[in-house]
């Protein structure tokens, strides 16, 4: 039996280390990534991660063939997905379809955290094409989040 205990005071799990969100520099800020269960540890086709954006934080603007289906756990945040911006609060779930450009953003004053189960076998995130970036910049809803 393996229980991964949650600690309410810190909003973290015992024995789960914070990992770099991505290697090196990028178009992201103040993102925490925790791997609650890796596919190799679990022996599963999925893994389960927890991401947290601190106030003012945002994830990379990216796309990939694998889908996301995240469940908000803490705080309030926004997700830019395709040509829309949606607000998320606990325990809203959000589907991100294959190759949809997306970014998570925290404009609130509390951390925004969400669970993110994902296929173990998946493609690497890619930056947007120039035309995809231009389309998001031309859309008043998404323009503020292109950065």
């Amino acid at each position: 039996v393996s229980v991964v205990r949650f600690d309410k005071a810190t909003f973290r799990w015992h024995g789960v280390d914070e990992r770099a969100y991505k290697e090196g520099e990028g178009d992201f800020r103040d993102v925490v990534r925790l791997r609650l269960g890796s596919a190799s540890e679990l022996g599963s086709a999925f893994e389960l991660r927890y991401f947290e954006l601190e106030p003012g934080g945002y994830s990379s603007l990216e796309k990939h063939r694998h889908v996301h289906f995240v469940v908000a756990l803490r705080g309030r945040g926004k997700a830019v997905v395709g040509d829309r911006v949606v607000e998320l609060e606990p325990f809203d779930a959000l589907y991100v379809s294959p190759l949809a450009p997306h970014r998570f953003v925290n404009e609130a004053h509390e951390p925004f955290g969400f669970l993110c189960p994902v296929d173990a076998s998946r493609d690497r995130p890619q930056p947007l094409s120039d035309s995809e970036r231009e389309a998001l910049k031309a859309n008043p809803a998404t323009a503020p989040y292109v950065l």
Copy 2:
């Protein structure tokens, strides 16, 4: 974009119907099963379900080769896993290894709910063997939960 909105008042998600936990009768009671995202809808190697045990409820005592990695979301409950009984509260995570006999139990006065991401391709649950049941009955920790 597809957002599955959570409703705090009912602790349910809009547009997600309750499904029969299992077909027919069985050794379970007062279990709610919601499929938040199916693998065919998502196009993923996993699906994401939410299970809820009402006070006094319990899931089948069963085993299977596919693993569980559940995250408690609501209330407090117990999980019988192998020869141990562990208590879970939000947002504790529990790993159930291949073929470990397991059952979830709610002995509290509030609903006990947990997220359960699972491999889309998986084997069917099996009942325990007679010797497995006898071992659980002979163990004072697990005996009350063999039923």
